[in-house]
């Protein structure tokens, strides 16, 4: 006999997209909201000063108990399963996608258009920025469109970035600063950034993490947050396609099932675990998994690749001032007409690569004490290093796929997810052209400073991943509609990363949040709110 917990809205997963949905619904409806999280709480803000110190000294994980040992998949995916999700560890970069990202088929004849335009999502970008607390600098309007100012002024340039911006200006490429989820003013009860330069774990609370939102909602009595509880499958109402319950177990008492009943269910498990749960929930009516009548769940797994390098600059910089701020351009993400498709961003950081103390000099001779320092000074006096990186758009193949891996099961015997990413042939055909174009721009930048490329590399790591439940107007080629509602189940929504069509060339979190707020509006409309 299962214990039954009922609510109007049941959100599965307690990461940043869950925080967006819960916060909006709590403000605009009277709905009762339950959030189920398989993980637990990790280091509180008060504990982060100490865990930060341990991370700096020993490299230790600053978020203890942020994962479940046997709940892990194969392929590029996040380790975290914790209240706050991967947005506990994030650096807080929150660029928007570019308008072109939503229309690449129409504009460039590659990939797929989204069912929404930039104009459709823009108000939700703004709302997400206001909920998170975005500090940003308006870039040139033609490649950084927005209808309202950022909620907070940008993080100030460091001395290093100011010198680097003089350099990029001389190259004729407009750079501005990355927008961040870090306070430059007191905001929503949180502190101002202190430039501690360990943004993965912020000891001041200036960086947004979703636990702040959950704590406020809990204090207001607006949500129930049920932790250490793993949802194993969704069950249908008999004879209908509506979701009736989320069947779960408390990890401390796995023989005692819990049934969460609700009018609306929201999957907020991130790019891997939402598709995974749909596939796990196969039944006689949906033998290939829920929301999977057309076989698209787990497909079109996406992300972007990057090229990167280090530039030797003939200038005096002081690496260590604030490496967690960076310069950014979206000029090449909004390139206008193209003879051949290539879109990317460029970002620049201070760096000490090539200019750190070492045990042997360039000739291999062993160095001691003052010799180490002299060798180090010689290399820091003679110039500085900039780190440069570009994310570029990679189009996913339909067979870029998350599947259930019967060879890898958790303690309950449930198969874990396996992700095998695959680019579309169009992206493979464009890869050399893309690399050559971007490296050419890196070289241009280096020459503008009188410097040179120290090194360069390419990466096929699918960063800022998403997909698996992509949105679309046509159920034959998508899993959810523009609001995140599954085509197959009127009371089941998927929010955030799984629903994206492609990853563009910018960090995805803000887009995941904006899409979640769109879904929350639709859910709220059904609850008499909005």
């Amino acid at each position: 006999m299962s214990r039954v917990i009922e609510s109007d809205v049941c959100i599965i997963g307690a990461g940043i997209t869950a925080a967006m949905v819960a916060e909006r619904l709590a403000e605009r409806t009277n709905a009762s909201i339950t959030i189920i999280e398989a993980g637990q709480r990790t280091a509180s803000l008060a504990e982060r000063t100490n865990t930060r110190a341990r991370m700096l000294a020993y490299g230790e994980n600053p978020y203890p108990n942020d994962h479940i040992p046997d709940q892990t998949g194969t392929g590029n995916m996040y380790r975290q399963m914790v209240v706050g999700g991967s947005a506990m560890h994030w650096g807080g970069a929150i660029p928007r996608y570019s308008p072109e990202d939503f229309r690449i088929r129409s504009l460039y004849g590659v990939g797929c258009d989204w069912p929404i335009s930039f104009d459709d999502i823009e108000p939700y970008y703004q709302e997400a920025e206001e909920r998170i607390g975005a500090a940003g600098e308006q870039g040139p309007e033609d490649c950084d469109p927005r209808s309202k100012p950022y909620p907070m002024p940008p993080l100030p340039l460091s001395y290093n970035l100011a010198r680097m911006r003089e350099w990029t200006d001389s190259a004729g490429i407009p750079f501005w600063t990355q927008p961040w989820a870090r306070n430059t003013e007191p905001y929503r009860g949180r502190n101002v950034c202190q430039r501690c330069d360990t943004c993965a774990v912020c000891p001041t609370g200036a960086k947004y993490t979703p636990d702040f939102a959950f704590d406020q909602l809990l204090a207001q009595g607006r949500i129930d947050l049920v932790t250490r509880t793993l949802v194993r499958r969704l069950a249908l109402e008999p004879g209908t396609d509506r979701i009736a319950a989320a069947e779960a177990v408390n990890r401390d008492a796995p023989t005692e099932p819990i049934e969460f009943r609700a009018g609306t269910f929201v999957l907020a498990g991130g790019h891997a675990w939402s598709s995974h749960l749909l596939l796990l929930s196969a039944n006689s009516r949906f033998p290939d998994g829920l929301a999977n009548r057309t076989g698209n769940v787990g497909r079109y797994m996406t992300g972007h690749w990057y090229v990167s390098g280090f530039i030797d600059l003939p200038m005096r910089l002081y690496p260590g001032i604030f490496a967690n701020n960076s310069l950014l351009t979206h000029r090449f993400a909004s390139p206008g007409p193209l003879d051949r498709y290539v879109r990317h961003d460029i970002r620049l950081w201070e760096s000490d690569v090539g200019r750190v103390p070492r045990l042997r000099n360039g000739d291999g001779g062993l160095l001691w004490g003052d010799e180490v320092m002299a060798d180090w000074r010689e290399r820091t006096d003679s110039g500085a290093t900039a780190r440069i990186r570009s994310y570029y758009d990679v189009l996913p193949d339909r067979d870029s796929r998350l599947t259930l891996d019967g060879a890898n099961t958790n303690a309950l015997g449930d198969p874990m997810p396996r992700i095998d990413y695959r680019p579309a042939q169009a992206s493979l055909d464009l890869e050399d052209h893309t690399h050559n174009t971007i490296f050419g721009r890196f070289e241009h930048l280096a020459r503008a400073a009188g410097g040179s490329m120290m090194s360069r590399r390419t990466s096929r790591l699918w960063e800022h991943p998403g997909g698996g439940c992509r949105m679309g107007d046509d159920p034959a080629t998508s899993v959810v509609d523009r609001w995140g509602r599954t085509h197959d189940h009127e009371n089941l929504f998927v929010v955030g990363a799984p629903t994206i069509v492609s990853s563009g060339c910018a960090n995805g979190t803000l887009t995941f949040c904006a899409l979640s707020l769109m879904a929350a509006e639709e859910i709220g409309n059904g609850l008499g709110g909005g």
Binding site: E47, N50, T51, R52, A53, R54, L56, A57, Y58, G59, E60, N61, P62, P64, D66, H67, P69, T72, N76, M77, Y78, R79, Q80, H89, L155, P156, L157, S158, Y159, T184, V192, Q194, R195, C196, D197, A200, P203, T204, Y318, P319, G320, I321, F322, V356, P357, R358, L359, R360, L366, W368, G369, V372, M373, W376, R377, T380, L461, W462, E463, P465
Partner: protein, 214 residues
Amino acid sequence: MPRSRRSFLKQSVATVAAASVAGCAPDGDGESGAASDGGTRAGATGTRASPLPASTLRAVGEAVLPAELGDDGRERAVAAFERWSDGLEPVAELAHPYLVPETRYSGPDPRPGWAAQLQGLEKECRARFGSEFGEIDVAARRNLLAGPVGQAGTGLGSPSNAGHVAVALMAHFFRSPTATDLCYGRVIAKQQCRGLDGALGEPVHVAGSEGGAP
């Protein structure tokens, strides 16, 4: 299998580390201070480090740390290393690399091996010079250290991964904010929280460095 690997490493570390220095047994269990430059370890398992012989460690410091630090500066650097060493937790869960689904752990406890290396230096020194390590001149100390330090490669990476205590000491110091400021002659104060005011300013000179005091 992260738990079994962790357990294995915990059980085997002392044996492996001690065996790496033939003929030099570690001192055995000693008290390790709770205080550390690196914060306190929540849920620490109480692993006790072999204490590093203080006088030999300081003699190593005189050989491998910059003389420009002066005696006081070197003493501070060695003491900071000792505090760091005391706080080290072997086989600790490490920060997750980006988009890697496995859990990673730090290596086995290096301290028994480091202690044994220091004791080995004293033995070798007495055998060759009839003196304690700290009594021979710096050039001779470096000669004794050159062999093991020379096996350490080129870089000064994480001190906890250093195969020799001299390299660990160097890495701990040269990766510190103090060393960075000394190198640049400027107060960069990396990883120190400092507020947003004055971000644009060039870091001020370190007191006494070229260019004058701030």
